[in-house]
Symmetry: C2
Subunit: 86 residues, 2 copies
Amino acid sequence: MARYAKALGHPVRVYIMQLLANQSCCYSGDLSQELPIAKSTLSQHLKELKESGLIQGQIEAPRIKYCVNSENWEEAKKLFKDFWSL
Amino acid sequence: MARYAKALGHPVRVYIMQLLANQSCCYSGDLSQELPIAKSTLSQHLKELKESGLIQGQIEAPRIKYCVNSENWEEAKKLFKDFWSL
DNA sequence: TTCGTAGTTCGTAAAATCACGAACAAATAT
DNA sequence: ATATTTGTTCGTGATTTTACGAACTACGAA
């Protein structure tokens, strides 16, 4: 729970997850264009999201596709659902 | 959203909020007994929860009663509910 | 008034976070 | 073979977080 919450504890990461929650997958480049941060900074945020388990990345040709990690996403969802009594 | 998530990004603070979610109010001393951390550390966590808006403290005789800040709690609840599509 | 209780604030230190540019790796395109 | 695109990793700082003990404040009890 705290691990997932921590991962969502930064506006950029919330933004990314909201995007992924809608379209389930995206490329780092897409994010890079929309967000006013350095590529390396973005990469770091993606890494943190990956380490939290919320997302996973798969190589696809020249770029990397980031997707929600469904299993952990559902786990987190349940934890938060219970936490907020939803 | 990120602000609330960040506040919940530590096990001790999650514990405190889970407790408060059930009984709505508690004293720092109660927490101090249950948690294996220094009083000052606990005080800091409570301060962060206060600054995030999730709780509020009111002086009551010699001790301080911490309660859920209902308004912000509901706001956070809604934000998370929407975020997770619950 | 003096003591004990409850809790905060201060000072300190170690670790983690956030952000950037530069250098790098891997694949594709020219 | 060289250049371009895509993204990671490295090195560096500034800031924040986490944690502790010690000192302090405020209140009630003896």
